[in-house]
Each structure stands twice: as structure tokens, then as C-alpha cells.
Symmetry: C2
Subunit: 432 residues, 2 copies
């Protein structure tokens, strides 16, 4: 990427300044000659780009925490947004009106100002937003998530395998991916995995349990992984284990049973841990920027570019370095049994010509039926809510929910959420 | 149908004898020259047929009532089978193991013994069974239901329209059909319908309310019809109003609010009323057979062949009388947004060459998303349960159900149902 220009854009001036200085400092440390720009004007940032990376969250964590608190007041533990196969806390679907609008507006800008650019949709909900942008614009969009990479790392480590020596194909929907090929050379590793569950998991579990006492985010090898494998027949990867039915998420007690003493990533304590960590990371970045004695590299002891597929995708396309990368793109026949206009997550060949889906994948009917189809229904509902509005759609989202005791509860929670000062525009969208 | 042979088949000798005598008596009354046969051997009945009509219910109403009672003991009002968009009481899906097996076995027999025959699948669940047979056999299957016809009749009557003068196209899935075209000549009747709701429904409702005090089966013009129209945007027809979300079915009180003082067709009282009526009908048939002074025709004052599309379909195919008939067939592109291998209900041209789907229909996304897609998920789950077995599938059916308080409740109701003496074979299927 030598010689390229990276334009950072934020609506928050202070944050923009910090990350700009951070980037410049890092760049000079590693002696890159990337030209950094900064702007608070989105259109200026997007104009004439080759790649646009959307990592924005409209509102803020605080905004969603406020909606979560209101939901819980009316009996909706973890918020009305958290439903079967959408239990990941920062995956804002039904209440993501502003997030959808922002992502679509960015895509419209790309369409108008950089029609040949690749839009890398990193901000969640990747499934909904990649599908939305794929359906409603002509933009070349790729949804990207690090879940596959962190999941693969943790599973390989747990089984004592060298990540680089294995074939580990996981397909499905974002946060709902399943290992269809697990091999070392020609050797199927599923028998080894089953043996590991039977013989080693009980003692592995003890070590894991000790770890999650202080780190609730270590979920990839939780008992949910084992239980999902036994229930659905394939290994769930990455954030898939944070997902699932109410079996794992009914209440705090249930979450503790499955995800350890803090209740896992998406419990009150786990999520607070995550938000606090995010704040600390932001503080660290500020410190690095302000303290000439700290090197940026010291923040990343071993993985300077992290596990994110963003740089590999840009490298593959911009430099024509043919690579297999885990991407989210409209299905178009890649996975049997999933409609063509739904964004699937698959490993695809990426090069200067783009993303190539050169084969057709299959999922067992059990996974299609119980993990994929219900998730697609919720995705369609969230898109319908955003595209069409109508208060009755919010009602439909909740009427069959196991947390709902009666219609009044649904009416009340919807009204409370739409009455928030921050939700004026959203209320207009839904109430007409 | 002059000169044709109709073979009646039943595993119950007494019932077979009664219906055989009933048919012969009616035939002689109307001076038809149909040749009636009877047999208790299914294969004999099916061999060399042009049409096979499956109206069989495996087990009996009592068997399903027993499963319903056990379900209710564990907190599942109206049974584990009754879930969102499958609230019709005799539509046995997840607990329909024997019903699915019987229907598939009949289809296999048709495939082997009368491969050119048309199989008319009248027994419910028409959606599941038509799809199952369409997917797993080469049989020419048509699912048939009278819901469209009785619904059209009742709606036309309520609005003071002559049924014969209107275009009334309803499409979707069986028990989940919606009026996409409602016209008299070129005049769209939807404005008239809206006016009727605003101006006349309040007084119409009072008359309706008086009627359902003694006849809980009068549901087609219940407030649910109006509410579904307002929620989803099109008129629901026939048994569609008995369906829907938990909004209409959460508990007896809710059912009474929507379906009148007895709680409608699919309430404890309503369903008992229906089963009692069925018993009385059977008694009447017995009486007619045994009493030479009663004519069969006296049982059908005005509609000798009822509203069922069975005879019209046979007439259209056998006599090449081109007709438009409401049928259930695999979609194959008939309705946009529904997979090709799902049985849809549509009006189709039927003649000697079969069923012709010569146009493509569209449903509003709101109906596709909220009424059709969730129903297809349940259909797929019921088929998976039948084809693959596995106790975990019964668990998945209930884990996200609003009636479920915890996993133990699910385990207990499943174990109680599978422990029934009648369910030995079913238990083996699910427990392996």
C-alpha cells in the first residue's frame, strides 16, 4: 500500500484528530509512505476512492445501552433486539434504524462519488447491511468480520493444531457459520474433534472456566460450541457460539450455565467488560498519541494488523494478490437453499478482478432449517422495518417472543423506545 | 363421471361398509351409473387408478386430543403442534409423524401401482404433505382445501356481492392465503371493502357476535379478518383467519376477544363443537344408510357436492373441462420469493393435460416476511422431523416458543408425549 492515501473521517473532531495522529505516528514508526488525510466531510472522504471502509456505529454504545435498559424494564432481557440467532449484543437489527440509514447513505455516496470503489462493510450488522446495500445499490460491497479468524485460531489452539496446516472451511451467514471442511492434508479432522470432545474437553473445560472468570469474551471454545456441534452436527465458528436459541440465553442463570460465571460476552457483566475494554483501548490510543516515549507497535505485541480481513482484502484487490478470504457477499448460488439476494459468509478467492464464487457449497438440512432459515426471517424483518416502517412491524418482531406475556407489554415497550428523545426521527419512521 | 369406478378404502370395516352403502344409495337416488367397490387393502384400491383421493387421518381425533391434553398439562395451550401461523387444530405438523408416514406411503403406492394417476391430497396438513410428496416422489400430486371457497362465499355474502360476478384471487400457502385481486369487472373492490370495514363492520359485527354464540366455526368474517387486513395489507381468506401469531391465540381470553364468546374454531369449546358435529354427521350417515325412508339428498339441501374442489379437479382433468381451480402445487416460480420446492396455493388452469401455472404472482413483502416465511420455516421443521428424526428437533420446535418457561418444561413435554403407548414407533423415530 506504499504511496496510497488513506482518508480518515469522523463526525467527532477530537476522535478524528487522535486517530489521525495515531495513524501518522504508526506510519512513521514502520516507515510506510502512506499519505494520511482527515476530514469531517463524508462525501469528501468518499470521493474518488478505491476502497471505502465503513466501521461507523450511528449513535453510540450508550444509545443502545439506553434502549437495552428500557427494554429490560418491560421484561425484555438484553433488549428487544436480542432474539433467537441474534443474541450478539452489538448487532443492532430491529432497533438499528440509524445504523441502517447511515450505512445505506454511505453506500449511496459511494455509488454517486466513487462508483467503482469497493465498499468494505465492517460495521455490524454485517448480514443485514451487506444484504441491504447489495439489494438497494449498485455498489460492490463486501461484508467483513474477524469472527472466523479468531474462532479458527482458538479452535486450532484448543486441539493442538497448527492453524497454517489445516483446511477449515466455514460457511453460512455472518455470526452463523459452520465448519463444512476440517482437514489436515487429506485427513478429515472431525474424528479427532469428536475424540477431543469425549476425552479432553472435560479437563479443557476446567482451564477454560478459570479463564472466563476474568475474561468473559473467551467464548469460541465454550460448552456452547460443543452443544451446538452435538445439536446441529457441525462446528460453529467465532461469534456463532454467541448466537443460537433461547436455550443458551433465556436468562442470566442460563447464560452462566453455558458461558461461565460472568455469563459470557453478551451478558450484563460480559458486555460491560467489553465496553470498559473499548474505553481503555481508546485511552491507550490517546496516551500513545500524546506520549512520545510510547511506540504504537508496543500496543500490538504479536499481531500488528490483527486478525481482521480488511487489509488482506485490499491487498488482494489492489495488488492482485490472489487470496482466499472469508467474505460476506450476496449468495447468488454459493450456498444451496439460501436465496440469491441474501448475504452469505464464505471463503472466496479475491484478486484484482474482485470476489470469485467459483464453487457451490452445501449445508446440512438441519443447519439450514434450524440455524439459517430462522436467522434469515429476522434479517428480512429488520430490512422490512427499515425500508417500510410501520409500527405493526415492531409488534410482529415481539409478539411471538418467549419474553412476551401479553400484547400490552409489546405496546408499552415499543412506545417507551419510540418516546426516547434520540428516537424522534425513528419514531416518525415507524409511526408515520 | 358416468361409467367410472370408485373404490372406497378404509381400515375400519364397519365405517367402510357404511360409506359404501351410503355411496350406492346416493348413486341410485341421482341415477348415476358409477360403479362402487370397497376394499380394506390399500394397494388394491390404488392399483390402476386415474385418481387417488387421500382423506385419511392416521390415528384419530382422539389420539390427537390425547396429545393435546398432555401438552396442556405441561403448559402448551392447544398442544405443542399449535404455533404461530399453524393454529388450526387439525393441521398436525410436528406431532404428525403417523400422518406424514401414511400420506407418504400412499404416495409411494401410487408411484408403484398407478404411476400416471393424480393424487389428490385432501387430508391435512396440505402444505406439509403436498410439499413432502412433491419432493420425495414422482407422483402428480395436487393438494386441495375448501377454505378458499368457503371464505370467498362468506366474504362475498358479508359485502352483499354476488360470488359469481367477482374476481377473487387468493394466493400464498394453504391456510395462509391472501386476496391479491378483488374485482367486479374492471372495478377494484378493495375501496368498497375498506368502506365496508369503516362504515358497516361495527353493525355487521353485532350480528356475527350473536351467530358465534352458537356456532364458533363462523370465523371467516371475524374481527381477525379485519385486523389481519389492517396489519398485513390484504384480505386473508378461509382458514387463514384461524391462523396468525400469538396475538390472536395467546390464551383462551385472547381467543374470546378475537373469535367471539366460545373462542372460535380452535379453542377448547370450539374444537369440541366441531368434533361433536363430526360425530353427528357420521351418525346421520349411518341413519340414512339404515333407514329406507330417508333420502341421502335430504342431507344436502342446496349444495350436493359441497364446496370442495375435488370433483371439479377430476372433472377438469378426466373430461378436459378447462377450469380455474384453487390448488396446492410445488411453487416452481408461481409466487415470487417462495422457494420452488414449497407447495403454494394458487388458482390454476386445470385441464386434461394437468395443472398449468401460466403466470407469476406477487405478494407484498410484508405478507411474505411476516405471514409466509415464518410458516415455511415451521413446514421445513416438520418435514425435517419426519424425514430425519432426532429428539433435538422436537426441542428446537419448542425452545423459542412463548409458552416455554425453561428447558426442563420442553424435555418433560417431549418425554410425556413420546411415552404414550400409541407413540412407540414415533418415539423410536425420534429417539433413535
Amino acid at each position: 500500500m506504499n504511496g496510497s492515501t488513506v482518508t480518515l473521517m469522523d463526525i467527532n473532531k477530537e476522535r478524528l484528530e487522535t486517530i489521525y495522529r495515531f495513524a501518522k505516528k504508526y506510519s512513521s514508526e514502520v516507515k510506510s509512505n502512506i499519505n494520511f488525510q482527515k476530514t469531517m466531510d463524508r462525501k469528501e472522504a468518499i470521493k474518488d476512492s478505491d476502497f471505502v471502509i465503513n466501521v461507523a456505529m450511528a449513535g453510540s454504545h450508550e444509545y443502545y445501552e439506553k434502549m437495552r435498559a428500557i427494554s429490560e424494564k418491560y421484561g425484555y432481557f438484553r433488549g428487544i433486539n436480542s432474539v433467537e440467532w441474534n443474541m450478539v449484543s452489538d448487532y443492532h437489527t430491529i432497533w438499528g434504524y440509524y445504523q441502517f440509514k447511515l450505512a445505506q447513505d454511505i453506500a449511496f455516496d459511494v455509488e454517486a462519488l466513487s462508483p467503482d470503489a469497493w465498499l468494505l462493510q465492517v460495521a455490524n450488522p454485517v448480514l443485514e447491511l451487506t444484504t441491504l446495500i447489495g439489494r438497494t445499490t449498485k455498489v460492490k460491497v463486501i461484508g467483513l468480520c474477524d469472527g472466523y479468524y479468531t474462532g479458527r485460531r482458538d479452535i486450532a489452539k484448543a486441539l493442538g493444531l497448527n492453524e497454517k496446516e489445516i483446511t477449515f472451511v466455514a460457511i453460512g451467514l455472518n455470526h452463523d457459520i459452520w465448519v463444512t471442511e476440517f482437514k489436515k492434508g487429506n485427513e478429515d479432522l472431525y474424528p479427532l474433534f469428536r475424540e477431543w470432545i469425549d476425552k479432553e474437553y472435560p479437563s479443557f473445560y476446567k482451564t477454560w472456566y478459570e479463564e472466563v472468570k476474568s475474561n468473559p469474551l473467551a467464548v469460541h471454545v465454550s460448552p456452547v460450541m460443543v452443544d451446538m456441534y452435538k445439536t446441529y452436527g457441525l462446528i460453529p465458528v467465532g461469534d456463532t457460539v454467541r448466537n443460537g436459541t433461547w436455550k443458551y440465553h433465556r436468562d442470566l442463570e442460563t447464560k452462566k450455565k453455558w458461558y461461565g460465571p460472568l455469563g459470557g460476552f453478551d451478558s450484563p457483566e460480559g458486555w460491560k467488560f467489553y465496553l470498559d475494554r473499548e474505553k481503555k483501548e481508546a485511552e491507550k490510543i490517546k496516551n500513545v498519541v500524546e506520549d512520545p516515549n510510547i511506540r504504537v507497535s508496543s500496543l500490538f505485541p504479536s499481531e500488528p494488523i490483527g486478525l481482521d480481513p480488511v487489509v488482506p482484502v485490499i491487498n488482494a484487490i489492489a495488488n492482485d494478490k490472489k487470496s482466499i478470504i472469508q467474505v460476506n457477499v450476496l449468495n447468488n448460488g454459493a450456498i444451496d437453499g439460501i436465496p440469491n439476494d441474501v448475504a452469505v459468509e464464505i471463503p472466496a478467492v479475491v484478486d484484482a478482478k474482485g470476489v470469485h464464487i467459483d464453487k457451490s457449497y452445501k449445508l446440512p438440512t438441519k443447519i439450514l432449517n434450524f440455524a439459517i432459515r430462522p436467522r434469515i426471517v429476522r434479517m428480512e424483518w429488520a430490512l422490512e422495518a427499515f425500508l417500510e416502517g410501520g409500527k405493526e412491524i415492531l409488534f410482529e418482531w415481539l409478539v411471538d417472543d418467549p419474553r412476551t406475556k401479553n400484547d400490552q407489554q409489546v405496546e408499552e415497550v415499543i412506545n417507551a423506545l419510540l418516546s426516547m428523545e434520540e428516537n424522534k426521527e425513528m419514531a416518525k419512521h415507524f409511526r408515520g
